[in-house]
């Protein structure tokens, strides 16, 4: 008998998501346009704020745009589906999913990975090219920094996925989690530096942000890309990212187990 590949269902789900995404071309073009507009608006605002200075606190306008482009680009790649579990709870298909002989969490990751791969090729790449041609970007600080950037960006995805995973699990009790997701998204946008670069945050704010996982999502990869961190610091920051992934995932996993228990005892 042919040996079964236990991962083949997950690849099938990832592939399905990748192909599904390519079906909605107009939506896809509009997404790229909206991200470009967002970058352009931020660029214009900061150009006006900079006036004729070339740098503020050692940060040049090109570094700033690089931060925006990379954060927005990575944001376009990551986009975990916050309504994956709530949607399944709403339409009742959570029952079907729990009975399937595959891991639900594994499936969540697989579907998100399929989406992320699509976004990486068809959103991140075009956005970077458009931004590089029309606005101008900093090149990566070096080949090694570029590689570390990729590793750290991957870990950033993990952090964002874990946050989304943990928040989604509250749907077992709250059912409608639109408000809590909105709060999460505000935190992610403001505290991750994708709206206001963390360089310009006051010191007390830095201290607060240091205790949150949000700067690990986009800001750490951006700093590595720009070469602002030594290799020792890079190793430290990546470890922090990893710790956050494990910590938040563990919380989400406890909620997931309790949520299933609730379903089994009280019914869905």
């Amino acid at each position: 008998m042919k040996k079964r590949n236990p991962l083949s269902p997950y690849f099938a789900y990832a592939k399905k998501c990748f192909l599904n995404r390519s079906a909605y071309r107009f939506d896809h073009l509009m997404n790229i346009l909206s991200t470009c507009l967002q970058i352009f608006i931020f660029w214009e605002i900061y150009r006006a704020l900079y006036g004729n200075k070339t740098q503020v606190d050692g940060i040049t306008i090109t570094m700033l745009t690089t931060n925006f482009v990379l954060s927005a680009g990575l944001g376009a790649v990551f986009c975990p589906d916050d309504y994956f579990l709530p949607g399944k709870i709403w339409d009742g298909s959570i029952s079907t999913e729990l009975l399937r002989p595959i891991s639900f969490k594994g499936r969540m990751i697989a579907e998100n990975a399929g989406n992320a791969l699509f976004n990486l090729i068809f959103r991140f790449a075009p956005i970077c090219i458009i931004a590089a041609v029309f606005i101008g970007l900093c090149p990566p600080a070096g080949l090694l920094h570029a590689l570390c950037f990729l590793v750290s960006a991957f870990l950033g995805w993990g952090v964002l996925w874990a946050i989304s995973f943990a928040v989604q699990m509250t749907a077992f009790w709250l059912i409608n989690i639109w408000s809590i997701l909105t709060i999460k998204n505000v935190f992610v946008r403001v505290l991750s530096g994708s709206m206001i670069p963390l360089w310009f945050m006051p010191d007390w704010m830095h201290k607060i942000i240091a205790f949150t996982p949000f700067s690990s999502i986009y800001f750490t990869p951006v700093q590595i890309y720009l070469g602002q961190l030594s290799f020792e610091e890079i190793a430290l920051r990546c470890t922090i990212q990893l710790v956050w992934i494990i910590f938040i995932y563990a919380i989400g996993d406890i909620l997931w187990k309790k949520g299933q228990k609730k379903l089994v005892v009280q019914g869905g």
Binding site: R4, G92, S95, T96, L99, P101, I102, S103
Partner: protein, 299 residues
């Protein structure tokens, strides 16, 4: 294959039920009787408050998701196929999820698609299908992994007469190959064709478990005959009727068909008067159930 030992949960109280391999059991009872709760307990989506449930030799709650292709569950109203993909794509995913060998899959797929009639629309997106079409596709999806144990909750909702007949045939064939089936339905006539045994639930209690013949002979309730008369009122005092009432020129009789046949009644009426129409109502599921619950209360 499934064993319930004094199980209580929500409406269900003290249900004991054993379903051996290769048997098709039909679970009937009025809405709210606990049919779906029983199915959900059997597949491990609910945990019993009291008593034990053993499915395929294991505790279904602890073992949920690890039965592989041995267990397949279909619940009407719970999507089995993703709504945003085509029927064919949905089946391909199920093939991967249950690790179904390509050879078996293509053979079973063409057979099921042909029998259940979804080969005509298997390239359409699931959410664009009509209810009946979707039910056909999803029933196919629950059979494609060749399960040992199949749980079907209200499988004939939305199916037309041909669809119901095909479903019955498929279930029978599967049982002949050794598959165990537990299904619920409101529709007693359809369900009884496919089932070896019936289990009657009402108000959370298992009132009867056994073959249809025994159910009918033991608990047969009364038939009701409505006669529209053209002439005078006949004298029916000699017949062992349970009840009779007159309203204008309509005569309503209820009687136990074990004691008196419809032919005898009609013969006696025709000897005395003219009739314009006769309508006989056989006991339906509801009356079997209410008759059963009366028995249950008495005993």
């Amino acid at each position: 294959m499934i064993c319930f030992e004094k199980v209580s949960k929500y409406v269900l109280s003290d249900v004991s039920l054993y379903i051996p391999k290769g048997v098709c059991v039909g679970l009937i009872g009025p809405s709210g009787a606990g049919k779906t709760t029983l199915i959900r307990l059997a597949c491990g989506l609910l945990e019993a408050d009291n008593g034990n449930v053993i499915t395929l030799g294991k505790n279904p709650v602890k073992h949920r998701g690890h039965f592989g292709s041995r267990l397949s569950v279909f619940m009407s109203g719970v999507p089995l196929l993703c709504l945003d993909e085509t029927v064919k794509q949905g089946f391909e995913l199920i093939k991967e999820v249950y690790h179904i060998p390509e050879k078996n899959f293509s053979k079973d797929y063409s057979r099921l698609a042909d029998r259940l009639g979804f080969n005509g629309f298997d390239s359409l997106i699931v959410k664009n299908l009509s209810l009946g079409q979707r039910m056909r596709a999803e029933l196919g999806a629950s059979l494609i992994c060749r399960p040992e144990l199949l749980l079907l909750d209200e499988p004939n909702i939305g199916l037309d007469e041909i669809g119901k007949a095909v479903l019955c045939e498929l279930i029978k064939e599967c049982c002949e190959r050794g598959m165990t089936v537990l299904l619920t339905s409101h529709d007693m006539t359809e369900i009884s064709k496919a089932c070896d045994r019936l289990a009657v639930l009402n108000g959370g209690r298992l009132l009867f478990y056994g073959s249809e013949e025994i159910l009918k002979s033991r608990y047969v309730p009364t038939d009701v005959m409505t006669v529209t008369l053209c002439g005078s009122l006949p004298d029916l005092d000699d017949l062992p009727l349970n009840r009779y009432s007159v309203e204008g020129n309509t005569l309503t009789l209820s009687y136990n068909s074990n004691y008196v046949t419809a032919a005898e009644i009609i013969k006696l009426i025709l000897e005395q008067t003219e009739i314009s129409s006769v309508d006989i109502k056989k006991p339906d599921l509801e009356s079997v159930c209410s008759s059963l619950s009366e028995h249950a209360i008495i005993s």
